[in-house]
Symmetry: C2
Subunit: 94 residues, 2 copies
DNA sequence: CAGTTACATAGATATTTGTCAATATGTTTT
DNA sequence: AAAACATATTGACAAATATCTATGTAACTG
């Protein structure tokens, strides 16, 4: 498996900030609207927007626009991909 | 599974810097001495030292001192733990 | 034991990142 | 069409991080 350093860093950026981890935890119970997330976190709306962009760029979160609302959910595919990247760091034979 | 935000962030900091990912890639072929790693990276010795501390703190890398040499290797346990943390973000039933 | 080697630590600095207030954009409602 | 609402973007700033040089420490070597 070829591991591109830049891409790997982008993926795992999702998990290396406390607020983003809080957001991911909130999303484990299913899709949530940005305004709902905002309610439950102690950050401003632009800060949430910033984190959601990083989470979406990482492929770990998917955003779905519905009228004026943004609904976010965890991408199971994204998580599985991240897990594959982790596995690639376990000792190889060569 | 209980996911502590701070602890999670510390673990995944291992994977969110390009140089640390390069280091991890070098370690996939097995234990390596710090001086060997230094040879293969375009960073100074104190910078390497700094990254190795972060990698060890995350539990993803293990350091073993032998005389004046430090030997580093990937902790399979650490990787497995990280993978468990990722799985915890997949949708739950509640 | 003096010099050398391998690594860590300290301190300084530049870059990156997280945060906020202000504003823009796009959608819905009246 | 104007007002209200949900979110994104911009710009400023503070905190965290990555990097370097200089120095310290511990182990080996002649």
């Amino acid at each position: 498996m070829i591991v591109d350093e830049k891409e790997t860093a982008v993926i795992f950026k999702a998990f290396c900030d406390e607020n983003r981890i809080r957001i991911l935890k909130l999303l484990t119970t299913g899709e949530k609207c940005a305004c709902k997330l905002l309610d439950e976190l102690n950050i401003t709306q632009p800060t949430l927007s910033h984190h959601m962009k990083i989470l979406c760029d990482s492929g770990i979160v998917i955003g779905r626009k519905e009228g004026k609302w943004m609904h976010y959910s965890i991408s199971e595919k994204g998580i599985i991909k991240a897990k594959k990247y982790l596995t690639a760091f376990i000792k190889t034979d060569k």
